[in-house]
Symmetry: C2
Subunit: 116 residues, 2 copies
């Protein structure tokens, strides 16, 4: 049950909080989103990613990074830059990006039995 969660180290580290509303239809979004996650995972300083989207197309993706420099390098990555352009032009009705420094973190609940 934990594969959806990012296994991040002790703070401090950085989070990019991306909240977004998808436009209707796929328009190539799904394949590019999967490719971007694969690319992000190979970037220096990548720590993890958590992402979800409801039936109405409202999504939140939080990616975690070692440093501001790692975030800047990912932003400058060529294929990612192309994808962000397509996002602005086609895939998102609206989005917000917030870059934040994670100062503390905790998890729960303790495991409650088999299968979890």
């Amino acid at each position: 049950m934990t594969e959806r969660f990012a296994n991040t180290p002790q703070p401090p580290y950085y989070a990019v909080i991306f909240s977004n509303q998808r436009t209707p239809g796929d328009e190539g979004y799904g394949a590019t989103a999967a490719r971007m996650e694969q690319l992000a995972r190979s970037q220096p300083g990548f720590l993890g990613i958590e992402s979800t989207r409801d039936e109405g197309g409202f999504g939140i993706t939080v990616s975690y990074w070692e440093s501001e420099a790692a975030i800047a390098a990912w932003r400058a990555q060529a294929e990612h830059s192309d994808a962000r352009r397509d996002g602005r032009e086609r895939w998102y009705e609206h989005f917000q990006v917030r870059v934040a420094k994670v100062e503390r973190a905790y998890a729960g609940p303790p495991a409650r039995g088999a299968g979890q």
Copy 2:
């Protein structure tokens, strides 16, 4: 289309990133979640909230606050403390909480026409 987005001020401010996996069934969760959002909105220092959950029950809620003190006060609020206990005991298979200081933010794309 923007009511799902938090209308936050210029940084800096704080974010509480709550990623979570729900247990099956409602078990009183829906009513309490709605009540907690209502309560949070009435707390001093509350700036906004963004929340989504997919069909598999994986959710991310990010609440935004003016200060660490505002977050601490919300955490200590009695009804919220009770709800967090129920969350640990019943509603969540697993969760992670990260408290982060938002340092910069931007939004997009520009409005592209009527109805957005």
